[in-house]
């Protein structure tokens, strides 16, 4: 190949790549509203940055999801676009372990359907109770979240007057948040405890 052709092809290939990288950077930092928290990924997901690099955006997890829990980002944001997430408030994960067993790229690590395996491996987040607004802490006996949990008495148990106590075994499926009858939700799924303050601020 001639030197001139080489440089021409290089420039012609650099322009679209630069537009894509610049566009991702611009829309991620300037155009879109900043996310205070990272989204909740389906069970078995790797750490956020690793997940974004491994996911091939094939949408097979959403197609296999029986509960219509998994949704996809589709914005002009090329970083997040096409990656799966779910909103516990709208629909929690029923922990069927179909999405991570169908994932072709390994962005969602396969986990067996055995309840003990789910309990030990899945870590989407952790439910946190806001005692200031929770019905059970304010004179009404409720306990909806305790009965909505797939691991009642292991991940969450009802104290006196069904006051919910979340243990460290909580996987963060969000079924309790979906079931909570108080609005705004008194029990919320968060990634870390520090994040709890952010979600409270939003409300």
């Amino acid at each position: 190949m001639k030197k001139r052709d080489f440089i021409k092809s290089l420039v012609a290939a650099l322009i679209p790549s630069a537009i894509l990288v610049g566009g991702s950077w611009f829309s991620f930092t300037k155009l879109l509203p900043k996310r205070k928290t990272s989204p909740f990924r389906p069970p078995g997901a790797l750490a956020e940055s690793e997940f974004l690099s491994k996911c091939i955006r094939c949408r097979r997890c959403g197609q296999v999801c029986p509960n219509e829990t998994i949704k996809y980002f589709d914005t002009l944001d090329p970083v997040m676009s096409g990656t799966p997430f779910f909103v516990p408030r709208e629909k929690g994960c029923i922990l069927c372990m179909k999405c991570n067993n169908t994932c072709p790229s390994g962005a969602l690590e396969p986990i067996s359907e055995n309840p003990d395996a789910i309990l030990s491996k899945v870590k989407i987040g952790k439910a946190v109770v806001d005692k200031n607004i929770c019905n059970s802490f304010n004179g009404f006996v409720c306990g909806v979240c305790v009965f909505a949990c797939p691991y009642t008495n292991i991940a969450i148990w009802g104290d006196t007057w069904e006051q919910p106590v979340v243990t460290d075994k909580c996987v963060g499926c969000g079924l309790c948040e979906q079931a909570c009858i108080h609005y705004p939700q008194a029990i919320r799924v968060v990634h870390t405890v520090e994040e709890q303050e952010v979600t409270i601020e939003k409300i």
Binding site: K54, I56, C58, R60, P78, P104
Partner: protein
């Protein structure tokens, strides 16, 4: 293939609403049901197919695009054996047939060829447009540069403009949530730009998948070949080639996607100088 994608997504939507949905205007499905299934309930591989062109599961077989494996591996800098196994069948087909995917499976090539014919009709009327072109090696360079940049920022930017992926997600979202994706808007504008400025430009000069397949298809054994004794070098086949190759000179490099348009053009002259043949030596 596309019928399978449609059918399975409609099945899912039916589950969403809690009733059965009639699939409109699907002659393929009707024909299939007529032969194999129940008249009232279509039985097209129910529950045994999921995904799209980019990556799908058929019974127990998981198949992914070779480009998805390359991008995922380079971006994450990690080898995934499960994913490597899922690309083995397409990889073998690429090594046998070269860039066949572009001409025979890729949904965008249909639109690109449609744009080509529109251009030809307009040229017959007498409207000639500006013909824009990029250097020949651009797709390979784009593949390499965008992979490097993806590895640096660890976001797979290479496939953002890859039509099979865009069509997979566009069909998914159009059926299930009824929204038009940003990728589909990009493809529509790309197609309009191609019709006006440069026919078939994307497939020839930018597509990263095409670049990867032509790189792997260098040693392919299924090729179009010129038969010297039959050919009188009339050159009818040259303008028919969407990739600007030179079929009349017997020049079929790895960019050739076996679309056979040159063979069709050759038959116009009642000659069969070009043939699809198996060749073991390049």
């Amino acid at each position: 293939m596309v019928a399978l994608v449609y059918y399975n997504l409609y099945e899912k939507k039916a589950g969403q609403i809690g009733s059965e949905i009639e699939i409109e205007n699907s002659k393929v499905l009707t024909a299939y049901d007529y032969v194999f299934g129940d008249e009232n309930k279509p039985m097209l591989f129910q529950g045994d197919f999921e995904g799209g062109l980019w990556s799908f599961r058929f019974f127990a077989l998981s198949i992914s695009d070779p480009l998805s494996f390359v991008v995922s591996t380079v971006t994450a800098l990690e080898f995934n054996l499960t994913m490597f196994l899922s690309i083995l069948i397409p990889l073998g087909l690429v090594l046998l047939f070269g860039r066949f995917f572009c001409a025979w499976i890729c949904p965008y090539s249909l639109f690109a060829e449609l744009g080509n014919s529109i251009r030809k009709i307009l040229a017959k009327i007498g409207i000639e447009y500006f013909r824009f072109d990029l250097p020949k090696r651009t797709p390979l360079f784009y593949l390499i540069i965008s992979l490097l940049l993806s590895a640096i920022i660890s976001i797979p930017i290479t496939t953002l403009i890859y039509p099979p992926r865009i069509f997979t997600e566009a069909i998914y979202h159009l059926i299930l949530s009824g929204i038009i994706t940003s990728g589909l808007i990009f493809v529509i504008f790309l197609w309009l730009g191609e019709v006006i400025f440069a026919p078939h430009l994307f497939c020839r000069r930018l597509c990263p998948g095409g670049a990867l397949f032509s790189l792997l298809g260098k040693w392919r054994i299924w090729k179009i070949q010129k038969i010297e004794s039959q050919c009188d070098s009339c050159g009818v086949c040259n303008p028919a080639c969407p990739y600007d190759l030179n079929p009349s000179a017997g020049y079929f490099p790895s960019e050739c996607d076996n679309c056979s348009l040159c063979i069709d053009a050759c038959k116009h002259n009642n000659r069969n100088a070009l043939k699809n043949v198996v060749r073991f030596k390049v």
